[in-house]
Structure formats: C-alpha cells, structure tokens
C-alpha cells in the first residue's frame, strides 16, 4: 500500500535551504548576494524542486491504481508519552497535482520576479529579501501540501500565512502596505483558530476509539480515514444557547468538526465572512499576488476540504454550509468586481469569486471538480495577475484602470503582454475549449447534481449568474486597459514600454497552460465526441483519494445543455461589456448616475469593511485601550503591583523605618546583637 521514497523530502527542502542561505547571509551577516547569485540560488532551487515533482508524478503513475502513495518519513518531531507526531511527507494523486502547481507556477513566478523586482535591485531595496521570502513561501506551501499528518499541515498552513504577511508588507516603508499585511495575518488567525479546534476535536474523537498505543495515528491522514467510520455516526449535544441552529440540540460530530475546519479554510481561502483581507493583500508586489493570493496559498483551504473529503462526505450539514458559502461568495465577490477601478482589485475579487466556485463544487461533493478548477484557476489567474503586472510595469506602476485605456496603440495585440492577458480573460470567462470552460462546467455540473445539498439548483443558478458577471467584469477590465480612448497621463505616454523577456516568457508559458490545461480533465461528454474512451484523466487519477467521486447521474444531452446555458450567460456578459465600454463609451457613466445607490454600494464593497470596523475592530480596540491597557496593564499590573509596592515601601521608609538609620555605629551594634541573640536563642531552644 505504501511505497517509501526518501528523496521526496528534497522537494520542500531545496527551497528552504535556499531561503535559509539567503536569510542567514542577509539577516545575520548583512552580506547581500549579488543579483546573479540570488537568481541562480532561488530560481534554481525551485526549478529542481519542480523537476523532482515531475519525477514524483512519474513514480506515482507507474504504481498500480489504489496503491499510489509515496511516503517519506523524515524525522520524529513531537513526542509526548504514547503520542508522537512525525515529520513525514506523503504523495498521493491529489498532492502530486498540487506540488506540480506550486513548484511549476512558483518557478515561473520566480523567473517573472527577476524582471518585476528589478527596480528593487537597482535601488537596493531588498531584491534578495524578496526572493528569500518567496522561497520560504514555496517551502511552506509544499510542506502544507505534502504533509502526512494534520500537525505538519498546520505548520505549513501557518508558514504560508507568515510569508503572505511578509510579502504583502514587502514595501513596508509605506504604512498602508504594513497595515494590509497585518490585516491579512490577523484575519487569517481567526480562521486558524477554527482549524486548530477542528484538529483537537478530530484528534480526541479518533484517539478515543483507537487503542492507546495507536493514538498517534489520530493525526495521520490515513489513520484518521481508516478510523473515521468508527466515529462517523457519533453525535454531540449543543449547548442551550445554540438551540436556534438547525438540527439542534444534537449534531453529528462530523458536522461540527467539518465546520471548524471550514472556518480555517474560509480564512485562508478568503470566503465570506473572512474574505476582507484578500483585496487588501494586493498591496504586495504583483508576483506575490499571482503566486500566493491567486494560484497557491488561497487554494489551501480548498485543498484541505478535498483532503478531508471522507469527513465532509459523512457530514452533509457541513457540506451544505460550504456549498452555500461558496455560492454566495462567488456571486457577491463577482458583483463587487464589476465596478472596481484598481486593476489588481478586480482580479482580487475575481479570485475570491473563483474560490467560491471551488467551495461550491467541494460542498456539493464534486471534489474532483474543485481540484480541477483549482488547477486551471491556478494557471489562468496567475497568468492574469502576471499580465496585469506587465501592464503595471509598462505604465510605470500605474494601477488605476481609469488612467489606462488605448494601450493597444503602444502594445499591439500580438505582443505577449496583450495577447497573454487576452488568453487569460478568455480562459477565466469559460470560452470553449480553454481550460476555464471545462473546469467551470464541472463545477456547475456538481452543483446541478448535488441532490443532498438543499437548494442546489439555486446554487447552480448563482454559479451561472456568476459566470455571466465574470465575463462582464473581465472584458470590462480588458477593454478599459487596452481599448477605448487613452486616459494615460500625458507625462507617461512617451515612456510606455513592454517589460523584458523574463517578464514576458512566464506569461507565454502560462498562457499555453491556461489554454490546454482543460484537456487534462476533459469531461467524458466531450471525450465521447472525440472518441476517447476515458478522457477525464485528472478525475480518474484523483478519484481513488477523493470521496464521493461517483459518476454524475446526468445524461450527456443535459450536460451539454447546462454547458450551453453557462456559455450563453458568459456571452451575454461579454456582449454587455462590449456595449458599455466599446460601442457606447458614455453609457457606463450615465448608468452609474441613474443607479447611483446600488453603484455606490458596489464601489464601497457593500461596506463590509466599515461594518467590521464598527462592529468588531473599533469596539475591540477601545476595549483593549480602556480596559486591558488602562485598566489592567497600566492600572493593575503597573499601578498596583509594580508602582504600588514601590510606593508602600517608600511610605513606610519615610514615616518610620528611616529612624532606624541613626548613623550611630553603636545603635547598629545593639540591633545586631539583639538579632544574633534572637537567632541563637531560636536555634538553641
């Protein structure tokens, strides 16, 4: 069942070694490496890691189906009594796809960063520091994905959170960037708390049914999965004040655990209500947005849900919550994206929306669809971010699309920056046969067929509506940037220049991937048309690991009709964008004026940030200020304990004790004698 392979550890360790080398040189010895050495070290380590990942996939495919599991037990880690957790890596079909995505896209983005962060090199603002963080992120993400047990996964989970914080606030001299980094970190902590509670609940439940000497299996994924049927039907009593919840007062334990884990997933993967950090995370450099906040880290939540699919399969309540959260997030984030004017903010809300799709699929039991969309989204969203980065570079760090337009005159359509951006747009809106088309259809199909989720047809409808909105805002973005009259600042117009080849080359590779990746998971309905007997190789590859991956009970005709509806909505969205931004350029302003209420609401992102600020942040800050700081810290600890002791001593000394200090030697002598007599008297008797 398990095949040992002790070289698996090098996949995460190489980026770690590179990060550690740069970090030690830079942090301890203040010796920055040269530009060339930094590039070779950081990009090289990730490249080798990618090649090893390919090798690992090759090994995995060579194994017979059902036995595809490589395990590398690196070292013992935590030992306490009979419990022990290992640093142990496991590669199965799901994590194999993930490490290829992380190291592959990661490598491309490392290469891209060479060009993008060039300014930082010239002005010595931390070129090497950037690559050090990027490598550290790659290590953490690979650890998260490859972890064999929940604790190691949590280590990687925290590691990516830390790197996210470091990289969002990379240009920390601007206070706003530092604030955004802190916001991302703090919002993620809320999610992590849920994740931790989930781990504890799952551990106590599983360890309770296993014999004591096998308790350490209760954190290992395989052990949990094997023992899970024993606790699948367990129930817990909810406390009275939660009596209003559906199904109260008795819940399935699996539902409770699943919801706890989902809180973690919602934090990391930016779902309602914890999505607010992701749009602000755009304060970081664009390659960071592409790698961490689009392609890899934010998908960790989806990956975790898929990894625990056996649990969610037994917890329909938790699954329904996930599906509905995903659906609502997808729709709301898409509506916010309609009116944003920052090129990266549009893409950020788009990411939130697409992550919603993935949770929609996962909640509906379509774990393979979720993983498929995760993969294709990784390609096309990284492509879009890198394309946006190339535009931002060409315009000398201008991000406002109101100050773009007509860029096609400077960068014609056949140039990589323009063409690749267009490919990304076409892929995300679901143009057949680009990757987004197939994966989005799989997601929508999962929603359509998920009979166990209440209101699943509504979810499907929301998904289709989101597809239409996605097409609208993506084409709006494309038209506002590249077409129409130029609103570029006059001072910039003479200096518009496409970025260097290290920037454009990753774009081209990603564009190719975003175009063809869909064929890896080609739904059977299209496979039949092309005469391929088993076309959905990605799903077939992952199916043994993911629960509930049974075939959809839907006829090919229905499936095609559903796809047609989605494409129709996307087309409608695209045509609306054409109408508003190409054919009738004055119309958007008039629309905004006549619908100013809803328009303002969208521009203000439903004022959720303000709501959180009023309801949570400010009360918390003022409570901390008045009670915790002034009351407890300054008042009780500093005032009573520290200064109070000092003042008491002072007062005692001033009012009485000081008279003992008469200055007369012989009075001291008397006291000494009295003391000595007392001590001796005590000792003698």
């Amino acid at each position: 069942m398990v095949t040992d392979s002790d070289w698996l550890r090098w996949i995460p360790l190489l980026p770690l070694a590179s990060a550690a080398a740069s970090g030690i040189l830079l942090g301890l010895f203040r010796r920055p490496l040269g530009r060339g050495a930094t590039v070779v070290l950081s990009c090289g380590s990730v490249l080798v890691s990618f090649l090893l990942s390919l090798l690992a996939l090759w090994h995995l495919i060579a194994l017979p189906v059902g036995k595809r599991l490589l395990v590398d037990r690196v070292a013992p880690w935590i030992g306490a009594g009979s419990f022990s957790a290992e640093i142990s890596l496991a590669l199965d079909p799901v994590s194999a796809i993930m490490i290829l995505l992380v190291s592959g896209v990661g490598f491309l983005i490392h290469v891209y960063s060479i060009g993008y962060m060039d300014d930082d090199h010239r002005e010595d603002k931390g070129f090497q520091r950037f690559f050090c963080y990027l490598n550290l992120f790659t290590f953490s993400m690979l650890t998260l994905v490859l972890a064999d047990n929940l604790l190691l996964m949590f280590l990687g989970w925290e590691g990516v959170g830390l790197c996210s914080y470091l990289l969002i606030g990379f240009w920390f001299s601007d206070r706003w960037n530092a604030y955004c980094g802190a916001k991302a970190f703090i919002v993620n902590r809320i999610g992590d708390f849920g994740f931790l509670i989930g781990i504890f609940l799952l551990f106590t439940a599983i360890a309770g049914v296993l014999p004591a000497e096998r308790a350490n299996e209760a954190v290992v994924f395989r052990g949990i999965e094997a023992a899970f049927p024993l606790i699948a039907e367990k129930t817990v009593q909810l406390p009275h004040w939660l009596g209003f919840l559906p199904g109260a007062p008795e819940w399935k334990l699996a539902t409770l655990i699943g919801l706890c884990f989902f809180v973690g997933a919602a934090g990391k993967s930016a779902q309602i209500p914890l999505y607010v950090w992701l749009p602000d995370a755009m304060a970081g450099p664009t390659p960071v947005s592409a790698l961490i906040h689009a392609a890899t880290m934010v998908t960790a939540g989806v990956y975790m849900v898929c990894r625990l699919s056996f649990l969610y399969d037994a917890a329909p309540g938790a699954s329904a919550v996930i599906a509905w959260t995903g659906g609502i997030t997808a729709l709301l984030a898409a509506t916010i994206a309609l009116v944003q004017t920052d090129i990266k903010k549009v893409l950020a809300y788009s990411t939130v929306s697409q992550l919603g799709y993935m949770f929609l699929a996962a909640g509906c039991g379509g774990y393979t669809a979720a993983m498929f969309h995760l993969l294709t989204h990784g390609f096309f969203k990284a492509l879009l971010f890198l394309g946006a980065g190339a535009v931002i570079l060409a315009l000398h760090h201008e991000q406002n699309i109101d100050k773009m337009g007509g860029l096609t005159r400077y960068i014609p359509w056949w140039r990589p920056t323009h063409l690749c951006f267009l490919v990304g747009v076409l892929a995300i809106v679901g143009t057949p046969p680009l990757s987004g088309f197939f994966s989005k259809d799989e997601v929508l199909l999962a929603a359509w067929t998920a009979e166990r989720v209440p209101g699943h047809t509504w979810l499907w409808a929301m998904g289709v509506a989101t597809a239409g909105l996605t097409a609208f805002y993506m084409f709006r973005l494309h038209f506002r940037v590249f077409f129409g009259e130029s609103r570029i600042a006059a001072s910039l117009r003479g200096h518009i220049q496409e970025a260097t080849s290290t920037v454009t080359l990753p774009l081209v590779v990603l564009a190719v991937l975003a175009t063809v990746a869909g064929f890896a998971g080609l739904p059977q309905v299209y496979g039949d048309m092309l005469g391929i007997s088993s076309s959905n190789s990605l799903a077939n590859f992952q199916a043994p690991v993911l629960a509930g991956a049974s075939a959809h009970e839907v006829s090919h005709a229905t499936e095609l009709r559903l796809a047609l509806v989605a494409v129709g909505f996307a087309l409608a969205g695209a045509l609306t964008a054409c109408l508003l931004y190409l054919w009738r350029p004055g119309l958007p302003e008039r629309l905004a004026a006549s619908l100013s209420g809803p328009y303002r609401l969208l521009v203000d992102r439903y004022r959720v940030d303000e709501l959180y600020d009023r309801a949570i942040v400010r009360p918390l800050v003022s409570f901390s200020e008045s009670v915790l700081y002034r009351g407890i810290d300054a008042g009780l600890i500093d005032g009573v304990a520290v200064m109070g002791t000092a003042r008491t001593v002072q007062r005692l000394a001033a009012q009485g004790l000081k008279y003992a200090q008469s200055g007369l030697t012989q009075s001291y002598l008397v006291l000494m004698l009295a003391g000595a007599t007392l001590v001796v008297g005590y000792l003698l008797g």
Partner: protein, 101 residues
C-alpha cells in the same frame, strides 16, 4: 591539674560580656576596636577549650583563622581611625554619625 571545662567557658563568657559592654558603651573608636578584640579572643578561648575537651583539632584550626582575620580587621580598623582623626581631629563615634536620615 586539669582545669574543668566549665571554668574556661565561664571565663570566656565573662570576657565576651566585658567586650560587648565596652563596644556598646565606650565612645572612643580605639577602645571599641579593643573591645571587639576582647570579644574575638573570648570566642577563641572557648574554641580551644572545646577542642581540648573533645579531642578535636578543628577548634585550633579555627582559632588560627580567627586570629588572622582579627589582625586584618585591626589593620583596616586602625587605618580608618587614623584617616578619621586626620580629617576630623576626633576619634569619637558620635562625631561620625553622618550616614543617617
């Protein structure tokens, strides 16, 4: 003729009491130092007496130790007295009660 231990201890106690009273009542620093010497030697006497009574030479060793320390103490003490006399023209302890509240 063997002197009984009680007599020696009694003498030691008397000497110690005289020394204590001298140290507490006299105002001349030199006399106070001498009184302290008297107390130390009272203790030495009892050490030697006990050492002989119990046949243990550790008492002698300790007495030698005390004599050495007492010599050092007198050297430092008299040094202080001399420098005090040069500065204040007095060896009265009541004249040097400066370190007070």
């Amino acid at each position: 003729m063997v002197i009984p231990l009680e007599h020696v201890i009694g003498l030691s106690a008397i000497l110690f009491a005289i020394g204590t009273i001298g140290a507490l009542t006299r105002r001349n620093l030199v006399v106070i130092l001498m009184s302290i010497e008297l107390m130390l030697n009272a203790v030495n006497l009892s050490f030697v007496a006990f050492a002989r009574a119990w046949g243990d030479t550790l008492g002698h060793v300790f007495v030698l130790m005390v004599i050495t320390v007492a010599a050092a103490e007198v050297a430092v003490g008299l040094g202080i007295v001399i420098s005090l006399f040069r500065n204040r023209d007095s060896v009265n302890v009541e004249d040097v009660s400066l370190l007070r509240w």
